[in-house]
Amino acid sequence: MMAHRVVGKPIGRVDGFEKVTGEARYSGDVTLPDLVWGKVLRSSLPHARIVRIDTSRAKSLPGVLAVLTAADLPKLLVGRRMFDMPMLARDRVRFIGEKVAAVAAIDPDVAEEAAALIDVDYEDLPAVYDPVAAIAPDAPVLHENPGAYDGAPAERPHPNVQSVLRFKLGDVEAGFREADRTFEHVFRTQLAHQGYLEPHAGVVAIDDEGRVQVWASNKMPFRLKELLSHALQLPPERIRVNLTPIGGDFGGKGSLMDLPLAYHLARVTGRPVKMIMRYTEELMAGNPRHPAVITIRTGVTRDGRIVARQVKALFNSGAYAAFKPAPSVNLGGTGMGAGVYRIPHLLIEGLCVYTNNIPCGHARSPGEPQMVFAGESHMDMIARELGLDPAELRRRNLLRDGDHLANGHHLEHVRAEETLEAALKASQWHEPKPGPWIGRGAAMTHRHIGVGFTNARVRLETDGTVTLSIALPDTGTGAHLVLRQVVAEVLGLAIDLIEIEVATTDDFETDSGVGGSRVTHTGGRAAYHAAEKLKEQIQNEAAKLGVPASALAVIAEAAARQGRTLEASHFFDAKAHAAVTSFTAQVAEVAVDPQTGQVTVRRFTTAHDVGTIINPIGHQGQIEGGLIQGLGYALMEEMKTEDGRISTLSLGDVKLPTVQDVPPLTTVLLEGPVGPGPFNAKAIGEGSISAVAPAIANAVADACGVRILDLPITAEKVFFALKQKPPAATKARS
């Protein structure tokens, strides 16, 4: 491999000064003269007709500047892809937490007090909470004609279905006829918040020229501009999104949330408006990870080869489809029902279903933790039935060079088996376990290297430094430092000489923003090519001046004297995925306490098939952070609901992992020379989260014979399952 000077170095010291000193200004920190605060009143019922709203008491509270209801707003629905959500409920509410009225006041406390003074009379409507019940023939219908919404997919087997996503290979019925044995299991996963510690925040101001200035915790500034243009019925050039750091994203910071309301409050009051969701509001009305009910049926031959698989996933999408950004209005991760395996005959169907619950959205590797929990638990259950080592069953079915994914995507440079072997070796899979009630479990997944488009501009300054200008917000992934390292490498400069300048939506044409494991790839390539162009300019100028190309200040000053700036831009647009992916293999070693059912992860091994690592600190940080989110999802995190009412409305109740929940970790990195990113980089942000829960579930089964089919794997579930031993028999048909 080519030797690099800056790429691959564990550089930390030049990034994060603003964050460790408190100087970084997040959207909730933005302040403007005459700023006022917006707050909302939310529905207390899961499904009801609004009979009457009385805002008179709220309006007469001193300090209140405006109170809005749907009657004050245009009849317009908002969304990211399917536009089915009102800015404020009109005539009807469909979940507890839906916005019914908005208030602007001089401070947040007055605004909250005013919201509480709004009286709403409701008339209950029949509600439905479970996705299985919601698609029964006589289920209450949430939306009379969902097919008429803008962006609604055509296929709709039931009025409560938002979308159907289907992956098909071969002929699944014929495939099952080839099987010697068939296994079917049903898995359930929980409602889970992304857990970012910065609740959604935004400031909207209408400036002297009538332009709408926006500061928001939103990771896709240009898409936000488009969506606001639609929601506010303003031409896009009237809107400027100003980028701020984002206090955690994990898929959750791409929706409009309160921004349209902040605009209307700003319009009515003539003052800038700030709206910050309380964390309680995040937990009742954010855009969390979809809960799922997943039925998976696999046909295998006697020697453990998979010949057919059928998967049906019901995602409990809540009251609106508005938070899903993909054109399918579904979750791409549904395709992971096929796992990392070669399956000749496959049919996966994912249905997103309307229910009277919190509307769900994207979360780190959307759909994958759900599907991988189901698929990888299922693999272990099959292995047990066949009397095979679960690692061996996987080995016999892994994807190989030239195979394709569920969506038909062709793969090369497949390193699934190497990754599995590396994890087995590092975890001492074949060694005897250190004692009773201790078990080991393995699980695998893979994640694409994301695609999209990014603009980058590099400029040589007269002091010899180089400025990289981009309109990608900093969500905390370390991407800005990665991009600086790429530019430094291309130009042969020290990292300290590359400054980053965060642009606004005025400064570039477009950008696909942050998400989907794309930034190192698309941002990195845009920065790489822009830097290459600048390098050529520098060399040409140096030759003309007769100075070495390293005399950057001299070159820049000479150009400046002629009124020129040495600057280069590049727009990188990756439309299609490359024929590579990144595999992950993980092994959990757990201890189960037979007295309480408590599961303790004794140690964890994670192996990744990666490309060139640009910043080892940031890369490892992504692995560790995703993994601990996976651990929380496996063992503790849950937003509990009862009849549409979420009972865990504080972060303490949701149980995010703390520093004491973190197990000893072994990481194995299999660096490879093939990746579509700059210097053959791949992606890492979503690689470590999805296989954690099944690895732990499989380890629990290995430790005590108890198979938990629904997440999270709490002590209570294990305890009661232990009491009922022998564990529930697998539904096996021969």
């Binding site: 408190g22 964390y279 905390g476 952070g625 520093v659």
Partner: protein
């Protein structure tokens, strides 16, 4: 109802009139413009609002501003000595102890308080002390590493 509060924040004396329900966090952020301290959970669970009150760690989102009357508050903005970062801040940068940064002000204030109380903490002691500071980005490994490095850096 409002009350006049006199408090010292990062060495600077302030006198201001606040509603009695004003939280110390909102007072710091919106009355004094010190937005380094963050509101995460709002109920004293996540630690993003951690500040020192007379040297002791508290959650400023569940403390009232009037409670700080006559007392000394240290926030993240008060840790660096002019342009020289506190060893804890430098260690968080060097070791990757932050990602999105929203919990970082609380983490570094908590870590400073730890090292003030115990300059050579063991790993279990670090984990015990930092238990009240949630981080969703890092998985904590690099936070523990940062605190350990800061402890070493602080040794004479």
């Amino acid at each position: 109802v409002t009350r006049v509060v006199r408090l010292t924040v990062n060495g600077a004396a302030h006198e201001l009139e606040v509603p009695t329900y004003r939280t110390l966090l909102d007072c710091l952020r919106y009355d004094l413009g010190l937005t380094g301290s963050k509101e995460g959970c709002g109920v004293g669970v996540c630690g993003a609002c951690t500040v020192l009150l007379d040297g002791k760690m508290i959650s400023s989102c569940i403390a009232l501003a009037v409670f700080a009357d006559g007392r000394e508050v240290t926030t993240v903005e008060g840790l660096a000595d002019d342009e020289r970062l506190h060893p804890v801040q430098q260690a968080f940068m060097d070791a990757g102890g932050f990602q999105c940064g929203i919990c970082t002000p609380g983490q570094v204030v908590a870590a400073k308080a730890l090292l003030d109380a115990n300059p050579t903490p063991s790993e279990p002691e670090i984990k015990e002390w930092m238990l009240g500071n949630l981080c969703r980005c890092t998985g904590y490994y690099k936070i523990v590493e940062s605190v350990r490095a800061a402890a070493q850096r602080s040794q004479p």
